[in-house]
Amino acid sequence: MAVNVIKPGLSTTVQDLGRPGYYNIGIPLSGGMDRLALKAANLLVGNKEGTAVLEAVFMGPELKFAEDATVAVTGAELPPRVDGEPRETWTSFKVKKGQTLSFDFLKKGARAYIAISGGIDVPVVLGSRSTYTLGALGGFKGRKLEAGDKLPVGKGRGAKEGRTIPEKLRRAPGAPAELRMLPGLYWHRITASAGKHFFEDTWKVAPEADRIGYRFRGGRPLEFVPREQPFGAGSDPSNIVDACYPYGSIQVPGGTEPIVLHRDAVSGGGYFMVGTVVSADMDLIGQLQPHTTARFVEVTMAQALKARKDQAKLYEKLKASL
């Protein structure tokens, strides 16, 4: 079975839950940026939670189905249409052979997950079907979709129509989005007052934010504690001797614009990191549109672990609701 790509959207990629285990050699996790939404989409159509889906950012693709399938769209409010007829998000619906799935303008959020019963059946590369476009790895030929592509889809019976996730179990960022973060190893590099206003200020998502990193601007520049730069570190006060960059870490080159590394992160470099966004809030970052606002909220390790547990509980509730 295949799905034909009539229009690709802005940057539509095949994603599953990613390929952990190769970050040490520079290959990032990849996978859906909003994992809860990705898993929900799969469950709605009767797939296993980690089946490969399409991640569409800001703009939906136009897809023509060569066979009947069950489809669900979760994450961003990107209203689906089947042959022009509107369908609900977060709800399973049927698409028949020969019908076209298209999308209205984005209403809310940034990334929609389009699950198709049977899953997108591209080859598994290093344990995952996720696309890492920068490395031309995985997904559909290692790249975003293009018009004319024939997407292979696996066999799956597909769940029935009208299965839906209750609204209270759909997580979306507030305005401003509150991103919980744990201060990191290099926290001491900035002054106490810089540390204070980092949390006080409201930041805005820069238009260049993408799957590699989410850049924010608009807060006051960070002031550094003066020091003689150590051997091997660059000359800017925001430089350190090269270190590993965790997924979720926040680097602030030049002390001006924080960048939160996301699923296609670079694995290391020479910028200090103020801290790391808790794993539970990484999904929210994937739903931030450019020019929307966010604040960083300081948490302790205990609070971060509690947030992770709460996120897991939310997913259990979501599963139980179906």
């Binding site: 802005l10 940057s11 950012v57 800001f58 703009m59 209205d104 303008f105 984005l106 209403k107 940034a110 238009p207 260049e208 934010a209 993408d210 549109q289 450019p290 020019h291």
Partner: protein
């Protein structure tokens, strides 16, 4: 009057480059398919094309942030 809506969220540019003149000015005649501006998002620029013919009046300034579905101009 038909409204031309932004297909994407991002930053709207009315010129192809900072040192170039605007694609179109208020009152100019445009043909269907003419490029009237660019949207920048995720380090890429997407051309915005007129979806109707007529006289154009812009509703958004150069370098202004826009949301998906926001009216960028009126053509009629």
């Amino acid at each position: 009057m038909a409204q031309l809506l932004s297909p994407l969220p991002g930053t709207f540019y009315r010129k192809p480059a900072p040192d170039k003149p605007s694609y179109k000015n208020d009152g100019d005649k445009v043909a269907k398919g003419d490029v009237i501006g660019l949207i920048e998002v995720m380090k890429s620029f997407t051309e915005v094309r007129a979806d109707a013919a007529g006289k154009i009046k812009f509703l958004v300034d150069n370098e202004e942030p826009v949301m998906a579905g926001q009216a960028l101009a009126e053509i009629g």
